[in-house]
């Protein structure tokens, strides 16, 4: 059997990312220590190349490798978002890793491997490729979570992430095996056809669907599968936390939406109820528990859980019985819009957190931000913008994201859900603005404690500029991104 050139071309971006990862890992031992950051620039260059290639594929719809992989605008949207997130993560890591004295080139290799797994997830048309992509992403992230090998917290985070991640993969795989038994194939289109001919209350089919919800629920961190999130986000190196919170969530949502709409679209009535319960539970628990957190990484972890809850509203809308096609599309498009917006504001917030140092350690308590506006007015102002955006206050991008989601919910006849989400968005303003209050209203204490300082570097400044530009520009002028998501979502089904 020969591999047709067309198939190879279709997955060229994935191949480039994997090749770059191997190149970074291979060059690492022969690169002298002062030049290690060249490998980071090599990774960035490969990603820019992929960005160009994927932009060219944006209007195509190609199936490759006997329908294992699909390249459509939907997949390309997620890939473009993932490239942007990975480039920003690599840039923010440069200064952070040096500060933590863990500047090792394999870090970039693992980031790229995780990225290639995510790219496979979002452009998979078969449960086999989705499983392989998920595992490639997760295995790389387990290693990255424990990257601060000298620190017990990081190792514990890696162990917890590994145990719960492997557990959830096992559940996901069991669901896939049941679906295979029922449909006779793991291809999403074949599963959709088989589901259409079956009775919808077939217990095996429902069990398979529930197992898939559980498996994906762990990956996107929604209640009640969120237990690992705060611990892992707190313990992991901050740059890795940002990458996990943004990229792995986006990729998992991408795969989740494709599986449930293209594969299990016939079961809408069943998963709609399930996701509705999960969505409301996530909104309530994520927002309420975030209030009592004193560690900012833990607070942002609960906030990321809450944001997954907001994004789920779009999925619930897409599964709503009686909603028109246009409303369903609006629901899905607003999930994509929300996750793109969420990426910029969360990356920005984590970049500020990564810059804050206390002695030789990270200053990751909310207390460490006390009086930041007096000492570092620019950083404090940027953090203010990100917090305001996370809370969803106009004119920031966070408001636009929430606005489209709530509008979709109202149009689908789920006004009560929009009201609940709005109430908890108000609750979330309390804990986001508390950070702002600590920065602006409290005087820096002249105590014996080590004075927190900012480890700024030009590259980090570029990352912050990109993030804040994304938050403000998307807030004032969301048109192009909205158009892109609307176009991308048409490719589903």
């Amino acid at each position: 059997m020969t591999l047709p050139l067309a198939d190879i071309l279709a997955i060229l971006p994935e191949l480039i990312v994997v090749a770059a990862a191997c190149l970074v890992l291979g060059l690492d031992p022969i690169t002298p220590a002062p030049r290690k950051q060249w490998l980071a620039w090599l990774s960035v260059a490969s990603l820019l190349l992929c960005f160009g290639l994927t932009s060219l594929q944006l209007d195509e719809r190609v199936m490759a490798f006997s329908d294992l992989v699909i390249i459509d605008p939907y997949a390309c949207f997620w890939k473009l978002l993932l490239y942007a997130v990975t480039v920003l993560t690599i840039l923010m890591s440069l200064a952070y890793l040096k500060e933590e004295k863990i500047h090792l080139a394999e870090y970039y290799g693992f980031l790229l491997l995780a990225l290639s797994g995510m790219m496979i997830m979002v452009s998979a048309a078969d449960l086999l490729t989705i499983y392989l992509g998920t595992e490639l992403m997760s295995l790389s992230l387990y290693v990255l979570a424990g990257f601060k090998r000298a620190e017990g917290r990081s190792l514990e985070a890696a162990a917890k992430y590994f145990v719960l991640g492997a557990f959830s993969s096992g559940i996901l795989l069991y669901g896939i095996s049941l679906l295979y038994g029922l449909a006779g194939s793991t291809r999403l289109s074949a599963i959709a056809m088989s589901v259409a001919t079956r009775r919808l209350d077939d217990p095996a089919l429902l069990l398979a669907m529930i197992l898939l919800v559980v498996g994906f629920g762990f990956k996107i961190a929604v209640v009640p599968f969120h237990m690992w999130t705060p611990d892992v986000y707190e313990g992991s190196p901050t740059s890795v936390t940002a990458f996990m919170a943004v990229a792995s969530k986006a990729a998992s949502f991408g795969a989740f939406m494709r599986v449930f709409l293209e594969g299990l679209g016939g079961l809408k009535a069943n998963w709609h109820v399930l996701l509705l319960v999960v969505c409301v539970a996530t909104l309530v628990l994520g927002n309420v528990v975030a209030i009592v957190q004193t560690n900012i990484k833990r607070m942002l972890a609960y906030s990321s859980i809450a944001h997954a809850g907001y994004a789920l509203i779009g999925m619930v809308v897409a599964g709503q019985a009686g909603a028109e096609g246009a409303v369903r599309s609006l629901g899905l498009a607003s999930v994509m819009l929300y996750l793109a917006v969420y990426a910029f504001m969360t990356l920005g917030a984590f970049t500020v957190v990564a810059m804050l140092r206390k002695g030789g350690l990270e200053g990751d308590e909310i207390e460490d931000f006390t009086g930041l506006s007096k000492r570092q007015p620019v950083a404090a102002f940027l953090m203010l913008v990100f917090m305001v955006s996370l809370a969803g206050i106009p004119p920031t991008a966070g408001f636009i994201g929430k606005f489209y989601l709530f509008m979709a919910a109202v149009q689908a006849g789920l006004a009560w859900l929009a009201v609940v989400a709005l109430l908890f968005a108000a609750v979330s303003a309390y804990y986001y603005l508390r950070v702002v209050m600590v920065m602006y209203m409290r005087e820096p204490q002249a105590s014996a404690r080590l004075e927190p300082r900012l480890a700024a570097s030009p590259v980090t400044a570029v990352v912050l500029a990109c993030a804040v530009a994304g938050v403000i520009l998307l807030g004032l002028y969301p048109g192009p991104l909205v158009a892109l998501t609307n176009q991308a979502v048409l490719a589903l089904k």
């Binding site: 499983y131 295995l139 387990y142 424990g146 000298a150 917890k160 145990v163 559940i171 095996s177 611990d231």
Partner: protein, 101 residues
Amino acid sequence: MAIPLSYYVTLSAIVFITGLVGVLIRRNIIIILLSVELMLNATNINFVAFSHHLHNVAGQVFVFFALTVAAAEVAVGLAIIIALYRSKFSINVDEFQLLKW
């Protein structure tokens, strides 16, 4: 005499639940890892049984991928466990208290 499909699926379900319960109640991280392996192998039984029943080879192909991934997962998992043991001299999950579990 051919063994009916339901026997295989029942066996797989029993093995899967054994693994599931093992992950949830055991406190030794190695045992937890082995329980995860039980879950994955239950899946493989399912795939092979369905593949045989449906006269469709895709399920057996899936098993090869699942086995490979499981091997990679164990490699990463054991590496993490060794690093953890070096810093804490314990592999009992109850003693990992730096982060609230």
